[in-house]
Amino acid sequence: MLEQQMRSSESLNEKLLKAMEEIPEGTKWKTCIQCGTCGGSCPTAYAMDYSPREIFALIKAGFIEKALKANTIWLCASCYLCTVRCPKGIRQTDVMYALKNFASENNLYPENSTAPVLAHTFVDIINKYGRNSEGELITNFYLKTNPLGLLKSAPLGLQLMAHKRMSLSQKKIKGYEDIKKIIDKTKSMGGA
């Protein structure tokens, strides 16, 4: 009974499987043999609620919320070590990206996780200028997650500014309208 309650609904399950299939070589993850090479290689696995191998097993068994509400996927720093080592040739880092995309679309995040906030803040800035503005990214990120953190990181910000390594202003690129058109088009295509 408990197990059934924890399993995700059929529709969420199907939706995720479909989303994962849409990425290049999207069905390959199903061939995972649970060897644990990924977790054994991962530099952040020690801090994860579930190792990457366990995330694969959870998804296979239909525990989608449990998998996505764990901190695992947001601790993936995209270093691709698991990808180059996987004996089944699964592009694990890409699977992590697919899961992050799905989590964002379905608003399924681990509690207190700030990584999705940073990613969304980054997207907003690129959509605004066409390029990143590191000063604005960090400022907006801390305002949304931890205003006190902004104060704490101010000395580093000032130090970077004194060394001409930080600017709070960014200009739109000339082809800004083109970026906007590309983004609007992808939205109309239903892609994200």
């Binding site: 066409g130 590191e134 960090i138």
Partner: protein, 289 residues
């Protein structure tokens, strides 16, 4: 020799020293880095995390512009941009459906990309096009006695390994050695610096950077040479925080490898952005015999 050059967002401010020193080193070697006009963000790991297709589409704008100008190659110095841009081309060519969709998105801006532009890392160009011999010939003040850990990082050779080993890259060591420095043993040379985790999971990020610094010190390095903006800033800007958290006393200069190479070429420090380094470099560079 002229190459089309893609600097990337980090090179505008936080890592402008990498931009300065790469251009200075290239010029000394007779290589011109011609900036892709009006480039935009490569997509990066952050954008890819929430809107993957959109990130591929905007990244493809850069590649489309390069292709339309007749280029077959483009040079990046940021390892993140290098991997991300190559990922787009690779996936488009492996998956015709994706190629079609990306072109549909690009068409809204009057652009088209056939997937013919190969993005190369500046380190690859130095080692394989210019060549180690040409680099050596330009060394006027060899970095004799300087013990440097060659920190390649992850994105430079993973996942594709286009020009270096995926798990134990050595090209950066070769360049440092050519510059007269001693590339110390550095077993964590391809380990992740933590990337954006320094901002989103500080505990994890600090531990990763600390382990890298510790490993460099353990095998006798007095400084670290990097080939990626994120590696450089994570290892340099957070050293004092690492020291107060772990009770360590790191004070290790973190260079872009092009800064060290430029020093060996005897180029003016201002052209190498050395004053932008947060941890002073004068002492260690003055010690070079």
């Amino acid at each position: 020799m002229e190459y089309l050059y893609y600097p990337g967002c980090s090179l505008e401010y936080t890592s402008s020293a990498y931009n300065d020193s790469s251009k200075a080193v290239a010029k000394a070697l007779g290589v011109e880095l011609k900036e892709l006009e009006d480039w935009n963000c490569c997509g990066s790991t952050a954008y890819m995390s929430v809107k993957e297709f959109m990130s591929f589409a905007i990244a493809a704008r850069n590649l489309a512009m390069a292709e339309m100008q007749g280029y077959k190659e483009m040079v990046a110095v940021c390892s993140g941009c290098f991997t991300t841009l190559n990922k787009v081309t690779r996936y488009m060519n492996l998956h015709p459906e994706m190629k079609k969709e990306i072109n549909e998105a690009l068409s809204a801006a009057g652009l088209k990309y056939d997937g013919t532009v190969m993005v190369r890392h500046f380190l690859d160009v130095l080692v394989n096009d210019t060549g180690i011999d040409a680099v050596k010939k330009n060394v006027k003040k060899p970095l004799t006695g300087l013990k440097a850990a060659a920190y390649s990082g992850c994105q430079i050779s993973r996942p594709y390994g286009t020009f270096d080993n995926k798990e134990f890259p050595t090209k950066l060591d070769e360049i440092l050695t050519a510059a007269g420095a001693e590339a110390t043993y550095f077993p964590l040379k391809a380990r992740c610096c933590g990337g954006m985790l320094m901002t989103t999971s500080e505990e994890v990020g600090l531990k990763m950077a600390k382990e890298l610094l510790e490993c460099a010190v353990k095998y006798g390095a007095e400084c670290i040479a990097t080939a990626c903006p994120l590696c450089q800033i994570n290892l340099e800007a957070y050293q004092s925080k690492i020291n107060s958290k772990f009770g360590t006393n790191f004070n290790m200069p973190i260079f872009f490898f092009t800064q060290l190479l430029g020093k060996a070429f005897d180029l003016p420090s201002d052209n190498l952005g050395l004053r932008k380094n947060l941890i002073p470099t004068e002492k260690i560079l003055a010690g070079v015999k």
